[in-house]
Symmetry: D2
Subunit: 344 residues, 4 copies
Amino acid sequence: MIRFECDYAEGAHPKVLELLSKTNFEQTPGYSVDMYCEKARVIIKELCQADKADVHFLVGGTQANTIVIESILRPHQGAVSAETGHINVHETGAIEATGHKVLTVPSDDGKITAGQVMLVYDNHWNDASHEHAVQPGMVYISNPTENGTLYTKKELTEISEVCRRLGLPLFLDGARMGYGLMAEGNDLTLQDIARLCDVFYIGGTKVGALFGEAVVITNQYLKKDFRYMIKQHGGMLAKGRLLGIQFIALFEEGLYFEISEHADRLAMKIKAAFEKKGYPFLYESATNQQFPIIPDEKLEVLKKKYAYSFWNKVDEKRSAVRFCTSWATREEDVALLVEDIRTL
Amino acid sequence: MIRFECDYAEGAHPKVLELLSKTNFEQTPGYSVDMYCEKARVIIKELCQADKADVHFLVGGTQANTIVIESILRPHQGAVSAETGHINVHETGAIEATGHKVLTVPSDDGKITAGQVMLVYDNHWNDASHEHAVQPGMVYISNPTENGTLYTKKELTEISEVCRRLGLPLFLDGARMGYGLMAEGNDLTLQDIARLCDVFYIGGTKVGALFGEAVVITNQYLKKDFRYMIKQHGGMLAKGRLLGIQFIALFEEGLYFEISEHADRLAMKIKAAFEKKGYPFLYESATNQQFPIIPDEKLEVLKKKYAYSFWNKVDEKRSAVRFCTSWATREEDVALLVEDIRTL
Amino acid sequence: MIRFECDYAEGAHPKVLELLSKTNFEQTPGYSVDMYCEKARVIIKELCQADKADVHFLVGGTQANTIVIESILRPHQGAVSAETGHINVHETGAIEATGHKVLTVPSDDGKITAGQVMLVYDNHWNDASHEHAVQPGMVYISNPTENGTLYTKKELTEISEVCRRLGLPLFLDGARMGYGLMAEGNDLTLQDIARLCDVFYIGGTKVGALFGEAVVITNQYLKKDFRYMIKQHGGMLAKGRLLGIQFIALFEEGLYFEISEHADRLAMKIKAAFEKKGYPFLYESATNQQFPIIPDEKLEVLKKKYAYSFWNKVDEKRSAVRFCTSWATREEDVALLVEDIRTL
Amino acid sequence: MIRFECDYAEGAHPKVLELLSKTNFEQTPGYSVDMYCEKARVIIKELCQADKADVHFLVGGTQANTIVIESILRPHQGAVSAETGHINVHETGAIEATGHKVLTVPSDDGKITAGQVMLVYDNHWNDASHEHAVQPGMVYISNPTENGTLYTKKELTEISEVCRRLGLPLFLDGARMGYGLMAEGNDLTLQDIARLCDVFYIGGTKVGALFGEAVVITNQYLKKDFRYMIKQHGGMLAKGRLLGIQFIALFEEGLYFEISEHADRLAMKIKAAFEKKGYPFLYESATNQQFPIIPDEKLEVLKKKYAYSFWNKVDEKRSAVRFCTSWATREEDVALLVEDIRTL
């Protein structure tokens, strides 16, 4: 079985493991105040051209989303999100568990627009009984989205401008950040994101690390006491240096970008194979997740050899599925898949 | 500088790292439903002689405490704990953040008694306005405690009996479980703990793992939907197999007990050295944490060469401090320290 | 100005005030354990033919909804509700503030169907990653709905059956219960509701009381420790007898039904006037809330003399508005309005 | 039976009921934006000499405490309180239910000192691992305290100064405010309290109203969006004018102070009677709650005719009990009691 079902099926990139092993016996203080975390922070801030940012390392994405959102909102406020947003559908109500409603807006492809943000805001404040409704307190987006789609620089700039005008902090979930940055046609840089968002995170778990997400807070008003929030939510790793070390391995010499590019390139091969076959896609994605719509009888054939994720039934005879590549995907496995698609 | 300040200053025991590296490129499903986690579960249940238990793997202790407690209590209930309990003083209000009060009882050494549990219960239910107070809903203890002390089998049996009589689930925080099990004079086994408690966890972070705690639920009524709770609290590690693999490395061939015994033995050397010097101890500990009370002027000498944790001022001239050993502590470092204590 | 904008514009029905005055100097214990509350409980249980039910008196509807829902759900569960449900849109996230997501289903008229409940349940449990989503834990409906519509006995029976089959407690919000029970065409009795729901409340605030809602719990598994929940949520009125006394006044001699019938009858007159004029309605309501769609230029005329609630813009030239009647609405005011509608 | 067990055994002062009846049929908007609430706000602000304050009306004390505290604190912060504070012992964990720990300081008589506040603050910030502990975020006091004791102007000034220096908002729970203001020896005025505290409330429930507490926010930084918080916590009374009307009745012509003085004066008679008899007191109170320590055999005699609250056993033969007076206590009942004490 060759697995394309997700981007976290393996351990970590060998260079990550190597650096963990190399530093294993060194003694450091706990809780991410060690020199490795410090060094990783410097590297990340430099890459983001955000030298005044605060950088915090967390273990996973749900944790990152929960802690960031809880730290920003007052109790009566909610986070605006696409209805497909990870916080709305795949975190077992983690945001609500901290007391906050997710204020959803419809989305076909995982993205939302500046206009939608404005509308939510206007609808709230124009309502005479707005005190009886949850107040929009921030905006959550993901890039790439859960559907593999990407914001353009223009789109993100518009959202950012609306958010700043309305006083709504903008938070970007970058669990798959690398695959977005390196995608063909992408025109957003890490620096753009740092400049346009108030807080975001760079995902490690799905891009080469054992685990780990680097939260970057560029808005100075959101920095205060963030470490308390991390601890309260069980996100303060005792051996915090494990996070710093991994991000050093990923970012010191550009490994993160290299492996992301690798995954995207292989995804494009898979995409091309399905396109050539005439299969449509549920979402138009230039990143490592591809969502082809495939006749069920053909899926029967594919599943003998390949693992993929079922997404949804499209009609009586066809289903949308997800194929993922990652830093660990092998050229030869993709070549096999491409050939098998051709002969379906 | 030789560091004795905590038991999580290094990475992981080499055998843990080795197994992580060896399995690194294997593909597994995420979220701890892989075969490594499954195997680790089997090993742990066997060691606990609790074949019907559920075993869940979490990243850290605060997470484990929060999720277990939140999963047990109804909203109006609280957890009975020593006032020195980790959940009461060192988790930034994580329990309260889930809506529950910690109902504290006084403790000199970190332990509580069956009588105290009974008293809290009686005081609550005998109060005519008990509906105006938080209802005791479970009991939290740690073993070893935060002060290095241990429950005897008799003490734990008494607490367990009271808890069962009163319908209060008993939860044991075993963040340093190994150091307790292997301590001189300890008469509690893992099987005793599994039998006497309703839920407990075996700590990996402080005993040889990179991170990880194994939550064991023996009371069948507490098992339901526990994985939802894990996910909601950001504790569902994407690459869950990392936890299974580490616990296999620690438990498959007894490494956990071996390294715990090592740490305890070295701690006893340090203890003996201070005793010989005539220094008293803040708590009487047979485990890897020692709390000598030392004249401040002597501390000035020690701190040039050794890192320890400051605990508290005992009087004008003396302070209690903590020296920790761990799986990683080196014989030669302890020998040096012992000699330096002798000549203080 | 004659006000039809809501059903809580006045104080209380004179008989309610009268009984409050008459009993004013009597001394009773606090917190609703007095003999008035006890007597009111007996009356309500008899009316519901539910002699084993628990009856609790709360001050308001948001409180009732929050406490009931919080008392039923475990932390990872949510309440299924129409997206128009009061708990989803008009309680400032009170449900989320207790940690629970509202799981919405679409609704045109405020009602949901047994089929929708089933679908939410199936979608959840058929999803391989259901542990990553909020688990449906109960069903919330309102009757009359926020739109004035009513469930038929058949519809409520179907929902009840599905709920029982799936193990989902059914909670009915009866803030405007009286106006529903007395509506033309209604075929549901209080006894039906008590039999088909697990918990519901009978609203006093909008039907003749100064304030007060009577929560009736018929499912014995939901009764435990409910008073703790009331207290924790600030719902335990010190002078609890005020609630009991009001419900005695309303129910001892059928006043509640009488005044509800009065309000419904006047609402039908208003409805008929708009119908005769050829104006359509946003929702088809047989209760005290009417939602006519009126040309904006005609609204300009009406608003000089009458207060109503703006609901929404229907198109460029027309708006839906709400006219409410209540126990306090005067025949002569309705006659005036009817005449003014006629000559619009 | 003559009841002295609490100060909320009756309904409301007749003038309160009278004004409610008189205004009963007037139509007003809901949710406390009516002209009665507005008028009551003006009166209260004038009495407090705090014309820029915000005044909100809530139904009860637990609600007031919860909403004020939740509105002030960030998630990782707690409220400093005497361990006897109402929020710590008699609100079923309402504060914890909003996610916040109560940070207790010891107290013999219900009061805390500026020094204690400073100590909590210093202990927190001087702790190297303060991020692992709940951060003190505000100070909660009550006046009169739950034990009937009073702060002097000097004491409150000191606490206020420390709080302002440390950036900790000071919140005073005035559930029995009137009985404090009118007590013999009291040197604090409503204006002092408004000047020295950041937020406080004036209790109506225990001082002549059916129910109701007036929250006064003088610190402008604490005002924002408070009405959202009220609504979210179920504290937004639909017929809000009921609160405004009651406070008008109590404050427009000084009734509140008059009836408080009445209660205090009668309490002093009871106090004198016990003193003359040689019975000591658990707390030294000049307000409407008296806590005599009485031989159990004498209590047997008293309880045939009088209701009081049991407080605690003092020794084998004596118990402390509570006698309360209120606006409703009758001179002749007190005279009887005094005589019966004399002849015990």
